[in-house]
């Protein structure tokens, strides 16, 4: 059996997967608990994959942009992961191996144009990340989080496989282009097609954390290491969104009457429930977990208007900013967890005053996520996703989005108020942190600077992606 492989397309994914193996081997023969150990080959592999991606620029601008977001996000996570306590609980070799394997899955997932590739990539993304959640040794909460994640993942994979088998039965092919053609000419009843499409799409929404697949997110994020949660909220979500968008736009346009209202309803429910859940959080990580559910709704909303002007570009532009802002926020919280041990609102009070190098980037990332003062890039991207929704005729969804922006302000601004508030009692003085923590801090500041630059010059984002 001869399977043709287009190496220009899978090149970056193969390089990342190879990097994963090298990271594991380096840790086996050269066990260092600092960034010099397996972190270095991981960083190099991601850099090389990025170069390869830039060189080939395959297969099209859209996949290129999504792959770029995945690679940049993973690189951010790898550098910021230095903050983690590799000394005791987290084995660095396994950590980097799993992280890069999962990233290779993400890269394949956004490049997939075939349902089998999609499901393989989906599993390659999911299984290592489940292990990542439970990797912390001797931590029962982490194990339970991983277990929740695993069960939810299995359920959703089962649903997707069910949908895919139905789709295969309906169309007789697994290739996106062929499926598009077959769906146009099929003479099967509409309801069969509808069930097949809905089951396929809905299962993919699991990774995105859309309602009703959001239930695992708060538990998993609060149970895993902070940077792993950041990875799940950013990179894994980016891959899922990319896969869903490409599937909807290339394979399923004939069934658009079925999935467009569905996606709109799911998006509206997701952002509303995510925001409502975030309202009562008193811990920054819990808040970000719920807020990432709400953001998934904003990411998904323009998919309901995929065929309007800019309907395909808008989610990717929103995604880029969301990934950057969310990673900055999670990395800042990871540093805070390492130095102070907790991210409850009480412990964060006055952070922007006592530790401005962490507090101000965190606050700026939150403002970006909220999209509040008109100067930040977050507002631009909120506008970017709102416009195709209105152009596509889903006015009710646009109203729900606007209401949710206000709802989001309620908790983002509350956390910002906490950050700039005057702390009671003794100001916290952190001991001089080791180099690894400084690296993570530098990454937070670099990311925040990126957000500032984009805020000053939104054209940089809007005209280059994708």
């Amino acid at each position: 059996m001869n399977i043709p492989i287009d190496w220009t397309v899978v090149g970056p994914a193969v390089i990342v997967a190879g990097g994963a193996l090298i990271a594991l081997l380096v840790d086996a023969f050269y066990p260092r608990r600092t960034w010099l150990g397996s972190g270095l080959p991981s960083t190099i592999a991601l850099g090389l994959a990025g170069l390869e991606l830039l060189r080939t620029h395959e297969p099209n601008d859209y996949v290129f942009a999504l792959s770029f977001i995945v690679l940049a996000g993973t690189l951010f996570v790898v550098v910021a992961s230095n903050v983690m306590n590799f000394e005791n609980a987290m084995p660095p070799g396994e950590y980097h191996f799993l992280l890069l394997s999962s990233a290779a899955g993400a890269l394949m997932m956004v490049a997939a144009h075939d349902l089998v590739t999609l499901i393989v990539a989906f599993e390659l993304l999911s299984l290592p990340s489940i292990a990542l959640v439970g990797l912390r040794q001797g931590d029962r909460v982490a194990i339970r989080s991983a277990w929740t994640f695993f069960l939810a993942s299995v359920v959703s994979t089962a649903i997707t496989l069910m949908g895919i088998s139905l789709l295969y039965g309906v169309t007789g092919t697994l290739d996106y282009a062929g499926m598009n053609h077959a769906l146009r000419t099929t003479d099967l009843p509409d309801s069969v097609v509808a069930v097949a499409v809905v089951l396929t799409v809905v299962g993919l929404l699991f990774k995105l954390g859309a309602v009703p697949f959001h239930v695992w997110i708060p538990d998993t994020y609060s149970g895993s290491s902070v940077m792993v949660a950041g990875y799940l909220s950013a990179v894994s979500k980016a891959a899922a969104l990319g896969a869903v968008l490409i599937l909807l736009a290339t394979a399923l346009p004939p069934a658009r009457d079925t999935w467009q209202p569905l996606v709109a309803i799911v998006a509206a429910l997701t952002m509303t429930i995510g925001n409502l859940g975030a309202l009562r959080q008193r811990d920054a990580i819990g808040l970000l977990a719920w807020s990432s559910i709400a953001q998934a709704g904003f990411l998904l909303a323009p998919a309901a208007a995929l065929f309007a002007t800019d309907g395909r570009r808008a989610p990717v532009q929103y995604l880029a900013i969301y990934v950057l802002a969310n990673l900055v926020a999670f990395a800042a919280l990871a540093v805070i967890v390492r130095l102070r041990g907790s991210t409850t609102f009480e412990d964060l009070t006055g952070l922007a005053r006592t530790d401005p190098w962490m507090g101000i980037p965190l606050g700026f990332a939150l403002l970006t996520l909220a999209g509040f003062p008109p100067a930040v890039i977050g507002l631009v991207t909120k506008y970017v996703v709102l416009r195709p929704v209105i152009d596509g005729g889903h006015t009710w969804l646009a109203v729900v989005m606007a209401l949710n922006v206000m709802l989001g302000l309620a908790y983002y601004l509350r956390l910002i108020v906490v950050l700039v508030d005057r702390a009671d009692g003794e100001p916290y003085v952190s001991p001089s942190p080791p180099l690894s923590v400084r690296l993570a801090k530098a990454m937070v500041i670099v990311g925040a600077l990126g957000l500032v630059v984009l805020s000053a010059w939104p054209d940089l984002l809007l005209s280059n992606l994708p």
Partner: protein, 559 residues
């Protein structure tokens, strides 16, 4: 000794730069447009400048007076604890004024216009420990700010009408929709230049430091209104209604201002009213369609009124008060101030050969011309405005003579002459008031008429001075300024107060209900979600299964 020179040097650098920019353009009638930053689709504002002869003259006036005032202030306010912020705000003001003058984009102009208003507010309130300064600053700010809304709305209308905010493009496109635009701009101009009925803020701005009065409230900012209309005269000329209104406002203001100036017992306040009256002269010339006459008077008035205010500052520095009763007989003890202010008062009264005579001559000629019916104005109105202007000239000559006599003649009082740094700028402005008359056009008939009128005004006052020995004018109504401020003082607060109460009530009972109740609902829903989030995996699986079943069912029913 405080260090003053950095601020003077900063102003000097700014002045030299502006002069180097302006002087080559002095004879350029068409002007040079330069686009520094082109507006794009996201932000349709271009950073563009347009400098022609008119703009160059006003630029030179602004930086010239600005630099002299900055030098003057080193002696006048140099020991003030807030001198530093004062000097820097002057620099900011000059930049804003230059922005207004050179701007070729309405929004850039608006920014400069508003920053000028802000600087005016800050500088009037420089002595904020006194009640008068605070309330005067607030009054000036509120009145001009409300009038500025006219400019903002006018700019929006211009953008809607012409599809561009560039001034040169708007002027090149020819007048369209000009009555609405001209009336809106007129509101802003009337507020900024303290014309009737928004004139009451300027006399109340007098608690500000005297050099500031000379710079902002005599020479530059209040004249920006004149400049704006002169710049946009083609739009105004296309609207007979706006020009008629402008002429009526100018006529009322010039006579009222002159009469109020006559009745004042305070030198500075009298000069403030005189400014209001002289600005109205410029507007009258604009209403007659003569841009050159208006700007000539703008320049010469800028010089001699700045001179008078700075001289007034010298007197205040000597006697410690701006009240006329505290002055008198200062002729011998302050000879330089006396000489310079004599030139200033002569220019105000319109005596040959000062710049004031020639520029007023030009304005009167323009009005006389308008009375022929050759301009936009109806000839009856032109004639009325012409006679009002003649009457105003008479009153102007009278009050100028009165102020001059009361301040410098009579019982001699011994005071020290002002310091060098204050005398220097005054002398320079006095020279300017004479030099600016070189090469001015001259109309024989009108010139003779205005000289006779000025001589009559001066003669009457001198005769009264000889006969009575004093010049106290017993006109309580004029001294109270006809109570024109009363409506603002009485009705506006009452109106605003009740409107505010109404808004609060509506906001509380009609608007706040929704956010409050929705916040409650959101909290409630949030609590419900918390209960669902039980860390129980079976329950999660149930949620997922139920959700999938619902979505699938919905899709099947739909299709």
């Amino acid at each position: 000794m405080r260090r003053h020179w950095p601020y003077v040097a900063l102003t000097a650098v700014l002045s030299v730069a502006a002069a180097a920019w302006a002087i080559p353009q002095l004879d350029d009638d068409h002007g040079t447009t330069h686009v520094w930053v082109r507006g794009d689709a996201l932000l349709g504002v271009s950073l563009a400048t347009h400098v022609d002869g008119l703009a160059a003259q006003v630029m030179l006036l602004a930086v010239g007076v600005g630099l002299l005032v900055q030098i003057y202030s080193t002696a006048y306010l140099g020991h003030h604890p807030r001198y530093r912020s004062y000097a820097l705000i002057i620099v900011l003001f000059l930049i804003a004024m230059l922005t207004v003058v050179v701007a070729d984009d309405f929004f850039v102009l608006l920014v400069g216009w508003e920053v000028m208003g802000l600087c005016s507010y800050l500088l009037i309130g420089h002595e904020w420990q006194t009640t008068e300064a605070r309330s005067g600053a607030a009054k000036a700010f509120l009145m001009t700010r409300i009038a500025d809304l006219g400019l903002l709305v006018g700019i929006l209308v211009i953008g809607q009408t012409y599809g561009t905010y560039r001034i040169s493009e708007v002027l090149a496109a020819g007048p369209k929709n000009s009555t609405a635009i001209a009336l809106l701009l007129l509101i802003a101009v009337v507020g900024k230049s303290a014309q009737f009925p928004l004139h009451t803020w300027l006399p109340d701005a007098m608690p500000g430091p005297t050099p500031i009065t000379a710079l902002i409230h005599a020479a530059t900012m209040v004249a920006a209104g004149v400049y704006l209309i002169a710049r946009l005269l083609p739009i105004f000329e296309a609207s007979e209604l706006a020009m008629t209104l402008l002429a009526i406002i100018a006529a009322i203001t010039m006579l009222l201002g002159a009469l109020f100036a006559l009745a004042q017992t305070d030198l500075k306040r009298a000069l403030a009213w005189s400014t209001v009256s002289q600005l109205a002269f410029m507007f009258a010339a604009l209403a007659a369609g003569d841009r050159d006459a208006a700007t000539n008077h703008l320049l010469s008035h800028g010089a001699f009124k700045a001179l008078l205010f700075l001289g007034c500052g010298c007197l205040m520095h000597a006697v410690g008060s701006s009240s006329l009763s505290a002055m008198g007989g200062l002729r011998r003890s302050m000879p330089v101030t006396f000489g310079a202010m004599t030139i200033g008062f002569a220019a105000l009264a319109g005596v040959v050969p000062t710049a004031g005579f020639f520029s007023k001559d030009g304005v009167l000629e323009a009005l006389h011309h308008a009375a022929d019916g050759s301009g936009v104005l109806p000839d009856v109105l032109g004639e009325i405005v012409f006679y009002v202007a003649l009457a105003t000239s008479l009153v102007t000559a009278a009050y100028a003579t009165r102020l001059w006599l009361v301040a410098f003649f009579g019982d001699a009082k011994e005071h020290d002459e002002a310091p060098q740094a204050m005398i220097g700028p005054v002398v320079a402005l006095a020279a300017a008031s004479l030099v600016l008359s070189i090469g001015q056009p001259f109309h024989f008939g009108i010139g003779l008429l205005s000289t006779i009128i000025a001589a009559a005004g001066i003669g009457m006052v001198v005769w009264a001075w000889r006969a009575q020995g004093n010049l106290d004018i017993d006109a309580p109504l004029l001294a109270r300024e006809l109570d024109l401020d009363a409506p603002y003082a009485r009705w506006l607060p009452a109106l605003v107060g009740s409107a505010a109460r109404l808004v609060v009530a509506v906001d509380r009972d009609g608007v706040d209900v929704y956010p409050r109740s929705s916040a409650t609902i959101a909290q409630f829903a949030s609590r419900g979600l918390d209960l669902l989030q039980s860390r129980n995996v079976q329950r999660y699986a149930t949620v997922i299964a139920a959700g999938v079943a619902l979505l699938t069912a919905a899709a099947v029913i739909w299709t």
